[in-house]
């Protein structure tokens, strides 16, 4: 009964969040931007490319280039990677929060009840987002000549499969807890290899052909469903069989995981909570004894930048980003110069040639968008300290400019290797001209990131939590702006006006978003 009470309160919280979202104009605006933004972008994409022939070609091409067992292997690799990463993860402790520590963990409720209720909420939330997502990409589905129900079912079974993988990962984390109680030797971690093999093994063609019962394994069930729904390597089995198998697998996994969730995960949560406040050991080694308070700069803007740079560098994640930027740039330079035979570029089939330029542009926009998340986090990471910054003797304009300039650097170094990789992978004609568009995109997306990040405390009254609509609308706003820019360039491609228009477009948008950010900062309560 307690599980249902907990689930009820979780649903109530979701409902309240939804009610808040639709009654708060700013939240509604962001949800609206998200939904109609996706709708707009998918309409533009579907008008640029007609997808139906693309998909017809794709299914034929797939049957020619790969064999059926590769699909089974790919899904099994997904499960295996979930099991391996889950082994090093925190399992069900990931659903716990600081609030749970203060409330639920001291209440007469069992850990598995918290896990199940929180998980139930996660599922309900996901289902609603999938539904909204499907509605928003309706123009794309329509253009590709795909049936809405089939697409929805495919999306649902993929989501359930990913949830099964999450649960497998959680089970793997339990295996680590268990083995750590039984043994202390570092060799105990060989268990993860065994678990990985255990998940990969059922994808063996010989096993599946000899013992058909192995099709019940989640990765095999997904592969079967996908091949039957899409018609690629179809064996004439009713696709519903695969769906049923996945549902059964999901039910088994969630029940097993609920049984495994115990009080030891409270300890795991307490341990990660303690760790997150400490600096990564590796960061400390790299950072050395740098003390930026010795800086000879007096400009407040430089000080904010130095503070952000060094405080971020103390988080392991940020450090890996810099390492990725350095090694990634080196690697793509090597790829583009040496063109190694062991890593060939993607060979574009003739049938798909018409779609490759839009694909290149879309991927470029996506890469810049992904890189620009840092810009949004530059404010979100401040958390409550944003009020300290606001109360300090800095002009709001200086704060925003400092954040923008540092974010610009960080976004640029994240985008650089990605663009280099894109050039190498899709070596399209005129790539040099197109890739230069990444520069204005970086300038604009960094400004939108700063502006949206600056609005977090305005919208939520709580600078610690990034509201969901913001997290969703940020990529959509950027995708919309990116698409608009490409559209502009496409229209004036043969005219000299573009030399004036493109900088004007960029400067106007950057100024607009930075002014918005200043406005947000001025309206903090």
């Amino acid at each position: 009964m307690t599980t249902f009470k907990l689930l009820k309160i979780e649903i109530r919280m979701l409902y309240n969040q939804f009610r808040l979202a639709i009654t708060t104009p700013s939240m509604l605006l962001f949800y609206g931007v998200t939904f109609f933004g996706i709708f707009f972008v998918s309409s533009v994409i579907s008008s640029l490319v007609t997808f139906a022939p693309l998909l017809v070609n794709l299914s034929g091409l797939m049957e020619e280039t790969i064999d059926v067992w590769m699909i089974y292997a790919a899904t099994a690799v997904l499960s295996a990677s979930a099991v391996v990463s889950g082994y090093f993860g925190v399992g069900p402790a990931a659903v716990l929060s600081d609030i749970d520590e203060s409330l639920l963990m001291s209440m007469p409720v069992k850990p598995h009840q918290i896990f199940l209720s929180r998980y139930g909420r996660r599922i309900i939330r996901k289902v609603s987002f999938i539904f909204l997502g499907l509605l928003a990409v309706f123009p794309l589905l329509q253009s590709a000549g795909l049936l809405f129900l089939t697409m929805a079912t495919i999306l649902v079974i993929i989501t359930i499969f990913l949830e099964i993988n999450y649960l497998l990962g959680a089970m793997s984390s339990y295996a680590r807890l268990w083995i750590s109680k039984k043994a202390t030797s570092p060799l105990r971690h060989l268990l993860v290899v065994l678990l990985g093999i255990l998940v990969l093994l059922p994808a063996s063609p010989w096993l599946i052909e000899t013992l058909r019962v192995f099709v019940i394994v989640p990765s095999n069930a997904l592969a079967l469903s996908l091949s039957e729904f899409t018609g690629i390597f179809s064996q004439g089995v009713n696709p519903i069989v695969g769906v049923m198998l996945i549902l059964v697998d999901f039910a088994i996994c969630i029940l097993v995981m609920a049984n495994l969730t115990g009080y030891e995960y409270y300890e795991v949560f307490a341990a990660i909570k303690g760790q997150e406040q400490t600096e990564g050991r590796f960061s400390k080694i790299i950072r050395g004894d740098v003390d930026f308070s010795n800086s000879r700069f007096n400009d407040p803007m430089i000080w904010i930048m130095l503070k952000d740079f060094w405080s971020r560098l103390r988080s392991p994640m940020q450090l890996w980003k810099y390492i990725y930027a350095v090694f990634g740039t080196g690697f793509v330079l090597y790829l583009n110069i040496a063109r190694p035979p062991w890593f060939p570029a993607f060979m574009i089939p003739v049938g798909l040639a018409f779609a490759i330029v839009p694909a290149f542009i879309l991927m470029m926009i996506m890469f810049v968008q992904m890189g620009s998340v840092t810009a949004m986090l530059s404010f979100v990471d401040e958390r409550d300290n944003v009020y300290l910054l606001k109360a300090s003797p800095f002009k709001p304009r200086d704060i925003i400019l400092a954040k923008y300039l540092l974010s610009l650097f960080e976004v640029a170094i994240a985008v650089l290797p990605a663009c280099g990789f894109l050039i190498y992978l899709l070596h399209i004609e005129g790539y040099l001209a197109i890739i230069t568009l990444a520069a204005p995109l970086v300038l604009i997306f960094t400004a939108t990131g700063n502006a949206i990040g600056a609005y977090v405390p305005v919208i939520t009254n709580d600078p610690k939590t990034l509201p969901v609509p913001l997290a969703f609308s940020f990529p959509i706003i950027n995708l919309g702006l990116g698409t608009a820019m490409v559209y502009l360039v496409a229209i004036f491609a043969n005219s000299w006006i573009i030399i004036v228009l493109l900088p004007l477009f960029t400067i106007t948008l950057v100024s607009f978003f930075l002014t918005l950010a200043v406005h947000a900062l001025n309206t903090y309560k």
Binding site: T2, K5, L6, I9, R12, M13, L14, N16, Q17, L20, D98, I99, E101, S102, L103, M105, S106, M107, P108, V109, K110, Y263, Y266, E267, A270, G274, T460, N461, D462, T465
Partner: protein, 294 residues
């Protein structure tokens, strides 16, 4: 009680619908009659186990760091025990162990006679906890949270409604009861958590970590008065604080901790006798935790 709350109570008590649209005073009479009938049927007030809280040789290690070492502690019904100590003394860790949030490395912890490791649900059902930093689910309203607490602790609906009203009035929280918790100030958040605890039936076993934190003088005064009343009614209360005025004002006995160890224990008189030069709890505390500064 407000009109809608009375109607809600009437619904819970299954007062016939025809009798609900009557004069307020008649409905109140009807409700009182029904409540009296029910209370006469219900079991008598539960008595607490003696001692209500018992920690025996409790040690907690975080890696090689000793957070709490060999802690022995008992809180009896009708007693307020103050757990005092400087920052990092191990007070909050002790309360987290006591409420089953984390496990002790060794030692025995019993709440109302139930071992927190062997019977965690029974032990946790007996204790109410207010954390050091008050936090709560921001997207619930205060009323929803209190109702949720009543459900989790299996408080009959009619009792929950009456007690909620009683404590909403005591903490002057009426205007915020339907507000989202995320919009409340720290003091009001503390009030919601306290109402959530007191919606249960007394006597209580309470573990309060800095309970006065964030409350305005009137709220703090009300809470202190309430805690003294609850002590008189047989509740067992463990308060962790470093506000020594609060501790002196409320507590019958003290356990003074420093760097995980108990450095002093007893009533104020006993502690003063141990430190002849001290004239107050503050001076005893300073003397036991590093000396009185010049």
């Amino acid at each position: 009680m407000k009109g809608d709350e009375l109607i809600n109570l009437a619904r819970v008590l299954k007062v016939p619908i025809t009798k609900r649209t009557i004069q307020r005073s008649w409905l109140i009479d009807e409700l009182i009659e029904e409540l009296e009938k029910r209370s006469s049927r219900d079991s008598p007030i539960n008595a607490l186990h003696q001692p209500a809280i018992e920690l025996e040789k409790v040690t907690k290690l975080f890696g090689k760091t000793v957070a709490v070492r060999n802690l022995d502690l008992q809180v009896h019904p009708g007693e307020i025990l103050g757990l005092v100590g400087p920052n990092g003394a191990g007070k909050t860790t002790t309360l987290r162990i006591l409420t089953g949030i984390i496990r002790a490395s060794s030692g025995v912890i019993q709440v109302n006679g139930h071992d927190i490791n062997d019977s965690p649900i029974l032990a946790k059902a007996s204790i109410g906890y207010i954390p050091e930093k008050p936090t709560c689910y921001p997207s619930l309203t205060a009323r929803e949270y209190v109702t949720f607490m009543a459900r989790i602790y299996k408080v009959p609906q009619e009792i929950a409604l009456i007690r909620m009203r009683e404590y909403v009035e005591l903490f002057q929280f009426d205007e915020f009861i339907d507000s989202y918790i995320g919009t409340l100030s720290k003091g009001n958040l503390q009030r919601v958590l306290l109402i959530g605890i007191f919606v249960r039936e007394p006597p209580y076993i309470l573990a309060l970590d800095e309970p006065i934190y964030g409350l305005d003088p009137r709220g703090a005064w009300n809470l202190k008065k309430l805690l003294k009343r609850l002590r008189g009614e047989g509740s067992a209360i463990l308060i962790s604080t470093h506000i020594l005025e609060v501790a002196t004002d409320l507590c019958d006995r003290f356990v003074i901790m420093n760097e995980g160890d108990v450095v002093g224990r007893g009533t104020l008189e006993e502690l003063l006798a141990l430190q002849p030069q001290a004239t107050s709890l503050e001076e005893v505390f300073l003397g036991l935790t590093g000396g009185i500064p010049e």
